[in-house]
């Protein structure tokens, strides 16, 4: 039987400027510490979160991040959902390639984030925006 994901708590944070990045990372860390996530997993989650929040600022004109504590069976975790109303991504497969960047940077944010988390989901509609959702389990 497939386990259900249950949302234990919900919080959200608006991201509008570069100065929001550090406090946002701090907030994610608070939740990760609260559920007892290991330091390595915390570091992976916060690094992934930092990449996605930067993308949201750089390419999506900012947006909102939903921060949820979830549980599935015996494991707890953090789910982060990044939503922006920016230009969207026309070719997601291309954007997910290591080294691809339309912004002259390293192009490892999306593919690297996917490697750092347990679940990764990206949806984008050109002209409407992008939503990226990630889950890191406490013991994952």
């Amino acid at each position: 039987m497939k386990l259900m994901k249950i949302v234990l708590s919900k919080d959200s944070m608006k991201i509008e400027r570069e100065q929001d990045v550090v406090p946002f990372r701090g907030r994610v860390k608070e939740y990760a510490v609260k559920i007892g996530m290991s330091l390595v997993n915390q570091t992976k989650l916060i690094t992934a979160a930092s990449e996605l929040v930067r993308n949201m600022l750089k390419y999506g004109n900012g947006g909102v991040v939903l921060i949820e504590v979830i549980s599935e069976g015996r494991d707890n975790g953090i789910r982060l959902t990044f939503s922006d109303k920016g230009p969207g991504i026309a070719d997601i497969a291309l954007a997910m390639k290591d080294g691809y960047s339309s912004g002259k940077s390293l192009g490892i944010g999306l593919p690297g984030t996917k490697r750092l988390v347990n679940e990764f989901d990206i949806k984008s509609t050109p002209g409407q925006g992008t939503t990226v959702s990630i889950i890191k389990w406490k013991n994952g």
């Binding site: 390595v40 992976k44 390293l106």
Partner: protein, 133 residues
């Protein structure tokens, strides 16, 4: 504070990053360091990142830029004190710190810089090694 202090110690420049950096601070550090290397003709740059709880691709790129630009001006860069969890994460993220050396701590980093500079500066020894004692 919108500048990270850069200390000069002989031929070396030393930077200790004490807080998780805002982007502006990080980009300022990059340009300040490059200017300082140029002005002081420093031979080595040591950056202590032991207080950084994460390094993402933005920060990684800045460290890499400092390394490659210093190299052009004939200075070596060593990054020291990276936390183990950060090192593990960087590998999975896929970030290579190209153009910078790494060392465990400040002492080891200084040793490394001194070795690099010694091997750069000293012309090949006339007396070979086994005959010097």
């Amino acid at each position: 504070m919108d500048r990270i202090p850069i200390l000069r110690m002989g031929k070396f420049l030393l930077v200790t990053i004490q807080i998780d950096l805002y982007d502006r601070l990080a980009t300022n550090l990059e340009s300040d360091l490059v200017q300082m290397v140029n002005k002081t003709e420093a031979k080595g740059v040591l950056i202590d990142i032991s207080a950084l709880s994460i390094v993402d691709s933005f920060m990684g790129r800045i460290l890499g830029n400092i390394g490659s630009m210093s190299k052009i001006m004939d200075a070596e860069t060593v990054v020291v004190g990276m936390q183990p969890a950060v090192a593990i994460t960087l590998i999975e993220l896929g970030l290579e710190l190209k153009g910078v050396h790494t060392a465990l701590n400040v002492e080891k980093g200084m040793e490394l810089l001194k070795e690099k500079i010694a091997s750069d500066e000293e012309p090949p020894d006339e007396t070979d090694e086994d005959s010097t004692e």
